[in-house]
Amino acid sequence: MKIVVCIKQVPDSWAQKRLNSSDSTLDRTNTDAVINDLDEYAIEAALQIIEAQTPGDQAHQVTLLSMGPERATEAIRKGFSMGADDALHIVDPALAGSDALATSLVLAKAVSNAEPDFVLCGTESTDARMAVVPAMLAERLGWPQLTFAGEMEVDLAARIVRIKRMTDDGVESMEAPMPCVVSVIEKINEPRYPSFKNIMAAKKKVVQTLTLSELGISSNDVGTAGAWTSVADFAELPPRGAGVKITDDGTSGDQLVSFLAAKKLV
């Protein structure tokens, strides 16, 4: 079984983010870059699925796929240290400023070449937060999608993936034939900490680097030039100020309600 896990390097979600004034793209220079939180759950899900297979039946492989600048190899190394086997890294200067459509185009091409049984992703990246790439990827591949998976099981013999899709509307049990695109939510597992053995092994694992031309994609279709949306302008809002702060003297519940009443909120 071969699983491709899409991962993205993002600014640390605990840091304040800003846009660059020059080109309205995310300022990535002043924040720590980390692997997207939600992608760790996708890697963990892939590893658990492989570990549940009978060993020796056939070769199993977890391949990480990432599109991003040179430094995204840090995120790939993190995935390696969790236990992923190898990686594809799409690096090209023309990719800077790519929108979700371009990202899905590049990922779809790389996935087609890799021919996995299925693709795993987090539901969204914590920087762009559009939550559209898994669906776009499935559309481009012509594959079914099983998204927002809080539970997942793979029936390799029947070549079916089953999930529990968990959204505001409730829980839906779903299934689809392989190959398919699966996105996971945080509820699905608890990502492992890298073991010393895996951290050492990660250094020897191979990242295959590909450029756009090697994937057969025109640089006109990606990056800022190929984006189908454009930012007209943006403005940072003044930070929200603090208002009244009281220390409870036994009446603050009543004071709170008076505050709400004055604001006509009750």
């Binding site: 800003r18 669906a135 012509g142 959204t167 398919c180 809002l237 603050s252 519940g253 709170l256 009750v266």
Partner: protein, 312 residues
């Protein structure tokens, strides 16, 4: 007149609040053309001013989520050549928008909080710290509209109703739903749409009862911080923050939540913020309009009693 195609959704025989916002926004931009799966809610759609209703009546829509609706919207884009497509920013809505964008070769903007007459979208990003204006430069613009972006306005119309008949191919029906457990609502409003949200965090120590009682006295939705969800105290779908839901209610009450950026990114565009926390240094106080340094187990029951007394 400019036609705006919208995806209207119904739940338990009512069109969603998000759908009424879509129709109202579409009315401002042009002539709303609604697509709805199923029947019997046409009168609710016309109440908000749709000029045309296309009904999708086929079992496939129930059994195979997302892709059949994309098929329908793509067919309608070809049929009516709308100036834009508007969809609600729900989990499913954004997936439909994403697939539709690939399918019809259009740019897509998600989580718009406003759309101007010349189709420039406003987005509030990075937890409301930055406002961005952007436009779609290719194809028929697709927008998903964030909840609570516009006040729904009644405007009765007499729309033409037409059934959209489609034949779905195998690709559209490959993923299937085998069973459903609807969310237990417990009578509280939907978190993303509620005008008041009361959330609990680490400070509850797992006991959400005072948070829930206070929420119920206000008719509010209940949310939770990531710490509370990770501890298993509250359901994942009610998590507010960077990796959960973004809410923008009239009133947000943070109880026992420290207010790290992770959480603030999901709630700091709320109109009024109240915080209750034992730690006077908690960062949540930096953005609270009314902060109480105190024990939520003392403050909330007193406030709940005061609100219930006002109602009596």
């Amino acid at each position: 007149m400019t036609q705006i195609l919208i995806l209207v959704e119904q739940r338990d025989g009512r069109i969603t609040r998000a759908s009424t916002e879509l129709i109202t926004m579409a009315k401002r931009l042009g002539s709303p053309m609604a697509f709805i799966v199923g029947e019997s809610v046409e009168s609710q759609i016309s109440q908000y001013g749709a000029d045309k209703i296309f009904r999708g009546i086929a079992a496939e829509y129930q059994v195979h989520p997302v892709v059949p609706v994309v098929d329908a919207l793509a067919a309608l884009v070809a049929k009516v050549s709308p100036a834009a497509v508007l969809i609600a920013s729900s989990a499913t809505g954004k997936e439909i928008a994403g697939r539709l964008a690939v399918r019809i070769g259009s740019g897509v903007i998600t989580d718009a909080v406003d759309i101007s007459a010349d189709l420039v979208a406003t987005q509030s990003i990075f937890g409301g710290s930055t406002l961005v204006h952007s436009r779609v430069t290719h194809g028929v613009p697709i927008f998903t509209l964030a909840p609570n972006s516009i006040e729904p306005t009644s405007q009765q119309t007499e729309p033409v109703i037409e059934d959209l008949v489609l034949v779905f191919d195998q690709k559209s029906t490959a993923a299937r739903v085998t069973s459903r457990e609807p969310a237990k609502k417990g009578g509280r409003p939907e978190l993303g749409e509620a005008s008041i949200v009361v959330s609990g965090g680490r400070g509850t120590n797992g006991d959400f009862s005072p948070v829930e009682a206070f929420a119920d006295s206000l008719g509010a939705a209940v949310g939770a911080s990531r710490a509370a969800v990770d501890a298993g105290w509250y359901p994942h779908t009610l998590q507010v923050g960077q990796t959960g839901k973004t809410v923008s209610p009239q009133l947000y009450v943070a109880c026992g939540i420290s207010g790290a950026i992770q959480h603030r990114a999901g709630m700091q565009t709320s109109k009024t913020i109240v915080a209750i926390n034992k730690d006077p240094e908690a960062p949540i106080f930096e953005i609270a309009d009314f902060g109480v340094v105190g024990d939520l187990f003392a403050v909330l029951p007193q406030a709940t009693a005061a609100i219930n007394a006002r109602k009596a």
